[in-house]
């Protein structure tokens, strides 16, 4: 596998022609292509590799090449040049050699690292973060680095993969035989999320682990629980330990990391009461290794780091899920908008206008118009509530009414069917108020009002409010419906509004009310006048409900 330099002044990454130098200085690291020789090292600023440390001589060393071999040559430095810890004057370099120039601690160079031979965790680390784990790092350092890197991986990672990687790392560090991660599900029950053995094989069965120890660890306040069965006398009730010959069990509760935002969260009293998300469980059998001597530091590090790792992964997952959900929702919203879009039919005997002023939230208002053999039909409905649920019901209701109108059904049958559908489906306290009006060429108007704001009938600047009405649709299963008939003359207008209009509020909390609506309807000759009057009345107060006004003018 070709080495892929991640950071630093990189040329032709992975070309394989030039060897690379990985220069590590404290927490920083960069990769340098050894693309010319002699390659100079020293404190002077004109060196190819400048190490600003007083222990490095100004002209410290060179890297030269002879017959395809690379050689480090000390230039008479004060503090010496070292290869793999041995002071040298001149030395041919092998891959993975650690070269130190005067400084023996914070900075060093790895010559042409051989990543194909590195173990998985290190390889993984180098790939994602460019961090080089030195071979003599302690286990704890390795773990910290590993988890740090894995956290970066989180941004693209999936929880399951992270759990498996975590288990592999934990098994390596503890040298245990088997490892499991349990996570709480929505009901709080522990569910096996991942299992691995030390041969990197998946374990899907958790029946042979000690569930009693697992439960104990979750109830305890400690960071981890080590049970060495060779020291424990009371094994009654611990079936798995006896049956499967378990020697050592380590169980680490995974507690949700505390948000360090408030003082309370930092208080030690709350530290242990943090929510337990799950548990990390490793064990070994009698016949195999003893893991009871695993360093407490390592276990403590695993406990805290693993929890935040999982929490981060979960947050990423939740974010992704929410992003998808938002996307779905916006698709649904655009479909809803297209469904609600009305093409007003042109008929010679009447003109129809409709206008909707939406408040911020998605509402349940809809308006529809269909021209049929029975006349021009208009529907105005207001589904109770707001938001997605209201929009969903509005679409369903619209579809039902539309199809039945085009089928030429009587109005009463249409609303009765809609009521039956809504109440039968037990949608739960959701209902709609609606008016369906159908005008024939000869001016005969039939309409059915189901709990809706009564229509305004304007004849010669005189406003009438017919008292006819029925129960809303979807409230009571046994509701019966009746319709009303009016004969219109040329110039008569029928105005339908939703309660968003009559209940439009001004800053004082007054409603626009029927009286104001009737006044403006009598005076005006257009739909716009009604909206202007509402806007003037409300002043700057935003609408709390959709306002829809539909006007049907019979021209004869």
């Amino acid at each position: 596998m070709a080495f892929q330099p991640i950071t630093g002044p990189v040329s032709s990454p992975g070309s394989g022609i030039f060897p690379t130098l990985v220069f590590v200085q404290g927490n920083d690291q960069r990769t340098i292509n050894l693309d010319h020789t002699p390659f100079t090292v020293g404190r002077k600023v004109d060196k190819d590799l400048v190490i600003a440390d007083p222990r490095v001589s100004r002209d410290h060393a060179l890297i030269t090449s002879e017959d395809g071999q690379f050689c480090v040559v000390d230039q008479g430095s004060k503090h010496g040049t070292f290869v793999n810890g041995e002071r040298v004057q001149r030395k041919t370099l092998e891959r993975n050699d650690r070269v130190e120039f005067g400084v023996r601690d914070v900075s060093y160079v790895i010559f042409h690292p051989h990543h194909a031979s590195s173990n998985t965790a290190r390889e993984f680390l180098s790939q994602i973060s460019g961090i080089q784990i030195s071979t003599d790092a302690t286990d704890l350092e390795k773990l910290t680095l590993f988890l740090e890197a894995a956290r970066k991986l989180n941004t693209t990672g999936v929880l399951d993969e992270i759990l498996v990687t975590l288990l592999d790392a934990t098994l390596k560090l503890t040298r245990a035989e088997r490892g499991y991660v349990f996570m709480r599900d929505e009901e709080g029950k522990l569910r096996l999320a991942a299992g691995r053995n030390s041969k990197d094989e998946p374990l899907l069965d958790d029946t042979t682990i000690s569930h009693s120890i697992l439960d104990e660890a979750l109830k305890s306040n400690s960071e981890f629980v080590i049970t060495d069965t060779s020291q424990s006398l009371d094994l009654a009730g611990r079936h798995s330990i006896v049956a499967y010959d378990l020697r050592t069990v380590i169980c680490i509760p995974l507690r949700k990391p505390q948000v360090q935002a408030t003082r309370e969260a930092q208080a030690p009293a709350t530290e242990n009461s943090a929510e337990v998300m799950g548990a990390l469980y490793v064990d070994s059998r009698f016949a195999s290794r003893d893991i009871s001597s695993v360093s407490n530091d390592i276990l403590r590090a695993i406990a805290t780091e693993a929890a935040s790792l999982i929490e981060n992964a979960r947050l990423v997952q939740a974010e992704e899920a929410s992003r998808r959900y938002q996307q779905e929702l916006s698709i649904a919203a655009s479909i809803q908008q297209r469904l609600m879009a009305v093409t007003i039919p042109e008929v010679p005997f009447a003109t129809l206008k409709g206008r909707n002023l939406s408040c911020k939230e998605i509402g349940g208002d809809f308006f529809d118009a269909v021209n049929t053999d029975e006349g021009l039909a208009v529907v105005l409905a207001d589904v109770s509530g707001k938001g997605v649920s209201a929009a969903l019901l509005a679409s369903t209701l619209q579809g039902m009414i539309y199809s039945q109108l085009t089928a030429g059904m009587p109005l009463i049958e249409i609303v009765t069917a809609a009521n039956r559908f809504f109440t039968h489906k037990h949608i739960g306290e959701k209902y709609a108020t609606l008016i369906i009006a159908r005008i024939r060429r000869d001016g005969e108007l039939e309409y059915v009002n189901c709990g809706h704001v009564p229509p305004l009938l304007v004849c010669n600047h005189e406003v009438m409010r017919p008292p006819h009405g029925n129960l809303p649709v979807g409230l009571l299963a046994d509701a019966t419906y009746e319709s009303d008939h009016v004969s219109l003359h040329a110039g008569d207008r029928l105005i339908l509004v939703t309660d968003g209009v009559t209940e439009a509020e001004n800053a004082r909390g007054d409603f626009f009310e029927d009286s104001r609506l009737e006044t403006v309807a009598a005076k005006s000759s257009s739909l716009e006048d009604i909206f202007t009057a509402v806007a003037n009345f409300c002043g700057g107060t935003p609408l709390s409900d959709d306002c829809t006004v539909v006007e049907l003018v019979y021209s004869g």
Binding site: S384, K386, E429, Y431, G451, P454, L475, D499, D545
Partner: protein, 117 residues
């Protein structure tokens, strides 16, 4: 939250007094839960709405929902203290015929056969 509900019991009749707005959402949920809770202890209930300033369509739906399911379960709910607005709404929606509405709490209690009237 714009709704507060007080409950007192007179002669085995739960009297629930609502204060504030009955709206779709939180308020409607509180109303539904309180009424359901009260109906667990007594089947006779008076709902006093005299201090309700506003009831929206969703709130009305909840009221009808609880009312009809309580009636179906054999409970008896009387309404009292309806303001002009609520009367108008019940008139428009023709729900006035569904609810049993009384002008005063005493009349509602009397209709429930309570000795306190």
């Amino acid at each position: 939250m714009n709704l507060k509900i007080d409950k007192r019991v007179v002669d085995g009749v739960a009297i629930m007094s609502c204060h504030g707005r009955i709206m779709f959402g939180e308020e409607a949920t509180v109303l539904r839960d309180s009424l359901k809770d009260a109906l667990k202890t007594t089947p006779r209930l008076v709902l006093n709405l005299s201090d309700v300033t506003y009831i929206d369509s969703g709130g009305l739906g909840t009221l009808v929902g609880v009312y009809s399911s309580a009636r179906a379960a054999g409970a008896d709910i009387k309404l009292t203290g309806l303001g002009q607005r609520l009367r108008d709404v019940l008139q428009i929606t023709k729900l006035a015929t569904v609810f049993q509405v009384f002008d005063t709490e005493q009349e509602a209690l009397a209709a429930l056969g309570s000795g306190a009237a």
